[in-house]
Assembly symmetry: C2
Homo-oligomer: 219 residues x 2
């Protein structure tokens, strides 16, 4: 499968490497590839890209051209603008892993959409030709692609979306990555619930002093 990952931060990098690791052709999309690749230093994208030569880097439009799956690993606040600018083909599955964090609200951040709406639903309304699936955003990056690293993967991973076939495609990928308890929350309005867990996640991050945790639905 050809997968485009939008976003060059920790989440985008981790997902790109992980999705390549299970046999996909992965391209990371960024606004200006040469500028992005010129960022050196320990955390610089250029340094990371040099260590991951099998992951291509291209513009947002080039990366998404011909992709079977586009992963939104962008900051929630810029997601709609970037996705709109990428010109993604109608029918493409968009896995939205972003969170609607309001960067103007300090730490811990509030959500810029919540309760009666969600970022995932906003994206679906803005791009009705895409098939949006929300998922993976309730855990830190390395658990998205390596769930076995925490309690042997004994936790829950939520997905929701309006298109059953799109959810099936995403579920297949999650299973390949090692997620053993994928819970389908139904239509995309389920994202109101999972996005709102960020408010609890951020508190737990503060009191536990680590990002190495996530939620299990005990039942």
């Amino acid at each position: 499968m050809r997968i485009a990952v939008l976003g060059t931060g920790m989440v985008g990098r981790t997902l790109a490497a992980g999705l390549h690791g299970i046999g996909n052709e992965v391209v990371i999309g960024t606004r200006d590839p040469s500028a992005t690749l010129s960022r050196e230093g320990t955390d610089g994208f250029g340094t990371w890209a040099a260590a991951h030569p099998d992951v291509a880097v291209a513009t947002f439009a080039e990366a998404t051209d011909g992709a079977d799956l586009v992963v939104n690993a962008l900051n929630g606040e810029v997601s709609a603008a970037v996705i709109g600018g990428a010109g993604i083909a109608a029918g493409t599955v968009l896995l939205d892993v972003s969170n609607p964090l309001d960067s103007a609200s300090g730490f811990p951040p509030n959500l810029f959409v919540s309760n009666t709406d969600s970022l995932a639903e906003r994206l679906q309304r803005a791009f009705p030709d895409l098939r949006v699936v929300k998922g993976l955003h309730t855990m830190t990056a390395h658990l998205m692609t390596g769930p076995q690293a925490l309690a042997g993967g004994d936790f829950s991973t939520f997905i929701c979306g309006d298109d059953p076939a799109a959810k099936q495609l995403v579920t297949g990928i999650l299973t390949q990555l090692g997620h053993t308890d994928v819970i389908d929350l139904g239509d995309l309005a389920g994202a109101r619930g999972t996005e709102a867990t960020m408010l609890l996640w951020l508190r737990l991050y503060q009191v536990l002093g680590t990002a190495d945790f996530t939620f299990k639905v005990v039942r």
Copy 2:
């Protein structure tokens, strides 16, 4: 300890019986005790009260008079009005187990306060002389008092509040009830996170077809 439970619904009844069961003197508060006790039938409060003669029933004001702990098991929408009318003594610990469900929004309900504020914080601001602790509201009633009934109690129970001694009192009770993973989320703003999990809880209730589940923070 003398405990007043406000509310005669399933949550109030279950908490009253459970808190009596671990050795407390429990009084259920209601607007009009004789009217409440006259409700017969399978689910009627009178039927329940006859089966639980050790739990007293009194007006809100009588029930809270002299109480070491008041438990708010009321509907979120009426909580502030009832607590205000009960005339609870300054310094009393109020364990708020209610949820800010907006009954006008259909099913699943939205929250009438969320994200940048919480019902628990509203109650604390309205009654600054009380010591509000939020807790137990992320699970169905019988798990509040009998956590061992689900996965041997292997799940998380959240508390938060601005008064450390009040949280210590509540934690002691939760431990007596069998809660083994009580996570202190810090000050009362932590309730924004736990109250928002209702949005996820209600979705899970729909797709799992049972209320017998809750969350574990896997770490």
